[in-house]
């Protein structure tokens, strides 16, 4: 997994590439935690994510909970395979998907 991080004033954009699993999810969580203070908009690009397990979903859910309090969050460029996982877990209704 690699994460590209672009911060512009109070907007944080993260591009997540590769596999987000039990091993890599803590790094994804750290990346969010260390950058989220003062952020009003979090945009997560999943175009190149090719795998997500429950460990990765937990990170997205906790990010959503934080952003519900301090601004908004959207997830974009969700590919078909990842969208399937969002649908079977109800994450398609929790997240704002563009």
């Amino acid at each position: 997994m690699t994460i590209e991080n672009v911060k512009k004033e109070d907007v944080l954009a993260l591009k997540v590439e590769g596999r987000v699993d039990t091993t890599t999810a803590p790094m994804f969580e750290d990346e969010i935690k260390k950058n989220i203070e003062g952020i009003k908009e979090l945009v997560i690009d999943l175009e190149k994510m090719d795998y997500i397990s429950s460990a990765g979903l937990r990170v997205l859910l906790s990010a959503q909970k934080i952003m519900d309090k301090q601004g908004k969050m959207k997830v974009k460029n969700v590919n078909e395979n990842i969208m399937d996982i969002f649908e079977i877990t109800g994450f398609d209704t929790i997240l704002t998907i563009e």
């Binding site: 039990t22 091993t23 429950s54 460990a55 078909e80 996982i85 079977i88 109800g90």
Partner: protein, 133 residues
């Protein structure tokens, strides 16, 4: 059929997934199916790591059996405390983000990604999953 006996520790997740993927790579298994199988394998293995041996390290035996190159049966055997994950209630996936709890998703994902899951206890936990493509 191939068999792997490995310590139930998080660090071995990659080896477990490679063991299963190596078998899948000998077939024409679609990318999406491979992802679904990997998810089920990860969730079950991590569950065993976290709960089976109550903080101590134990082993897990994983058997992989291809069926006519269009299906796969995977069996997980551990000698930890008896635990049937299928008895666990599914989380309510209609709740909002604020109401949803972090956790409980692994078994739900396993059920939805696989065609069939079976649990037996015969002096050890035996969990068998099946997927056909």
């Amino acid at each position: 059929m191939k068999e792997l006996v490995i310590a139930a520790i998080k660090e071995n997740l990659e080896d477990v997934l490679s063991f299963v993927d190596d078998e899948l790579d000998t077939t024409d298994c679609p990318v999406k199916t491979k992802m679904q199988i990997d998810i089920a394998v990860e969730e079950i293995f991590v569950n065993i790591v976290n709960y089976a041996y109550g903080g101590k390290t134990g082993e897990v035996k994983i058997k992989v059996e291809l069926q006519d190159k269009h299906g796969l049966k995977i069996t997980f055997i551990d000698k930890g405390i008896p635990y049937n994950p299928l008895e666990k209630e599914d989380p309510d996936i209609t709740l909002s983000a604020q109401e949803r709890e972090i956790g409980g998703l692994g078994i739900l994902m396993t059920k939805k990604c696989m065609d069939d899951i079976k649990y037996e206890y015969k002096g050890c936990n035996i969990l068998t999953i099946n997927k056909v493509w």
